[in-house]
């Protein structure tokens, strides 16, 4: 296509509809919320945009900073687990035969087509005290318990169900479950582009598989790894439903706090300030990726 500057009329026609849409339903509401963050509550519904920084001041109090920090840690752990689990999965799909590849990719994407709420409740059914996980482990426990006296070991006591739900473990498990496809797909895209003969050349020169993975595959897949990390980390940081349903009293993340400001606390200005702090954090993460990508580009 030619330079858009030369075909201004045409460009304007094509761009008008999406631009209007974005302005009306994205930029303006965002701007409104942004203005709210500099306002004070007056009455139940009135907000006086006074230019105050009180909301931000309050958002930076240790209580909220602590929740921010905790959200960062939870999202970070989620991302690391997704990377560690997702990398071998992506590799396996890349090296599967052409007949299997589309089915494996479909299996990765299948959860996207199921409502998040339903998936989360299903996970709750697995993790409950009387859930499938505890039942299965209890069954194994009883079987082994009946064998142990036969081989001269003391019989273990009755199985105590583990607390798998309503704690940080459940939140991270749920977040990993939800965000794994976000990690696998960019990794798959990066690894699929990799020239196989580079891997063979490394093996040919005496490197083992692990060494080849670390010295050749990982550096060359770095752009995919970084975008996988970003698009896993950013939504995990703003996760609301998962910590709300799977978490305990101490597992609330920043999105839960924000929701409470808008609803129960009816403190929109403060909620807006928290929201924008979260967005700034996200921007920093994306800017970091952009800088890294530029560096990688310059290195060739």
């Amino acid at each position: 296509m030619e330079d858009w500057k030369r075909g201004r009329a045409m460009f304007a026609t094509v761009a008008a509809a999406p631009l209007t849409w974005l302005t009306l339903f994205f930029i303006i509401p965002m701007a409104v919320v942004w203005l709210y963050s500099f306002g004070t509550n007056r009455g139940l519904t009135d907000i006086d945009i006074s230019g105050t920084l009180v909301n931000y001041q309050r958002a930076l109090e240790p209580l909220y900073l602590g929740i921010f920090a905790k959200s960062l840690v939870v999202a970070g752990i989620t991302t690391v687990i997704c990377l560690v689990v997702g990398f071998p999965v992506a590799l396996a799909i890349v090296f599967s035969t052409d007949r299997w590849k589309p089915w494996l990719l479909l299996a990765i994407m299948l959860p996207f087509w199921t409502n998040l709420l339903i998936r989360t409740y299903a996970l709750m059914a697995v993790l409950r005290t009387e859930g499938y996980a505890n039942q299965s482990i209890g069954w194994l426990h009883d079987r082994f318990g009946s064998i142990m006296p036969l081989v001269g070991l003391p019989a273990p006591g009755a199985y105590e169900p583990m607390n798998l739900l309503y704690n940080n473990f459940a939140v991270i498990l749920g977040l990993v479950y939800v965000h794994l496809p976000f990690m696998v797909l960019p990794l798959y895209a990066a690894l699929d582009r990799l020239d196989r003969s580079l891997i063979e050349a490394s093996l040919d020169l005496g490197a083992g598989h692990i060494r080849t993975l670390l010295a050749i595959v990982a550096p060359l897949a770095a752009p995919g790894i970084i975008s996988g990390i970003i698009i896993t980390f950013v939504p995990a940081l703003g996760a609301y439903l998962t910590p709300d349903l799977l978490g305990g009293p101490d597992s609330q993340m920043i999105a839960n706090v924000i929701e409470r400001q808008f609803k129960r606390a009816n403190d929109w200005p403060f909620g807006a300030a928290l929201s924008f702090l979260l967005m700034y954090a996200t921007f920093i993460a994306i800017a970091f990726q952009a800088v890294k990508a530029k560096q990688a580009e310059r290195r060739g």
Binding site: L198, A201, D204, L205, A207, I216
Partner: protein
Amino acid sequence: MSDASPIISIRNVTKRFKGAPSPAVDDVSLDIMPGEFFVLLGPSGCGKTTLLRMIAGFEIPTEGQILIDGQDMALVPPNKRPVNMVFQSYAVFPHMTVAQNVGYGLKIARMPSDEIDTRVREALELVKLDGLAGRRPDQLSGGQRQRVALARSLIMRPKVLLLDEPLSALDAKLRAQMQFELADLQDEVGITFITVTHDQDEALSMAGRIAVMNKGDIAQLATPSDLYEFPANRFVADFVGSVNIFEGTLTLDEPDRAAVDCPGLGKVYLNHGVTGAHGSQVWIALRPEKLYLHVPGEGKAVREAARDAPEGHNFARGTIKGMSYLGDITLYEIRLESGAMIRVSRPNLSRRDQEDFTWDDRVSMHWRADSPVVLLS
């Protein structure tokens, strides 16, 4: 060298790929001696690359055995084999400098870094890349990347160097130059080279011995000149070089002479015997450069024209139907009196030679009685 044991011994190796109707490599046996420049030549899909990859360890033979230096390689993974490979795409690691690429194998082998530096410098000198150690692969030309791949393999001092279509990605000039350089390099390092190629010129110019492969099988194993001058069958005669092939019947077969009656070419006399049954179907292969074109005398009768041919030569007549001037030679497509076409090449020994003939000229041609090759299959 004749009493040395083979460096690579391929014994009844068959490779079947899942879902493929016929085996990629079909019961191939082959011995390659130390220090040889060995070439696997064949059209794409003939199994030559699969055979090379089985030696490297990237494919596992379905049946049969591969021995390197007397050791069975069945359970040895690629990274433990005493061979190294130069890949068709060169597979130079894009995120490493030239020096890091070349030193990669030694670093894996945990060699001290000062020793690696010395060896890298030597290897780069060997492939004439000294001074480019700090470059990144995207700053190199295709020819330079190939030299990096060569140095990276040679630095490992393998018993055998495997080269997969090493020159296919280079332009014609560079390819011709690299053919000489590869042969010189092999001479210098004394390592056994096994090269896979589909390019017959490349094979003929570099190889000590060539195995021509067809449909997973070795069609002929010979030196370059034997392959060209004494092809064993129609496939080899046709694949290596350019050739005219005529079907015929063996009508005379004595120890010092033979004759083949070809419907297309007429009766072809040979001044040597053929080990074939009398009356059996054979083929005559005649290379275009072994035919001499004649300027026919004005209005000469057939009998007189035949006298133009030297004593003991075969003779045929036809009309020029196509010409292609290639500078050093001119190629002529000639329709014989039988209607069959024959190709003749003529060296342009003086500057106006190509003007001797033109389209629709009636010409006669002759060839020595030992020029045709009689093929039984």
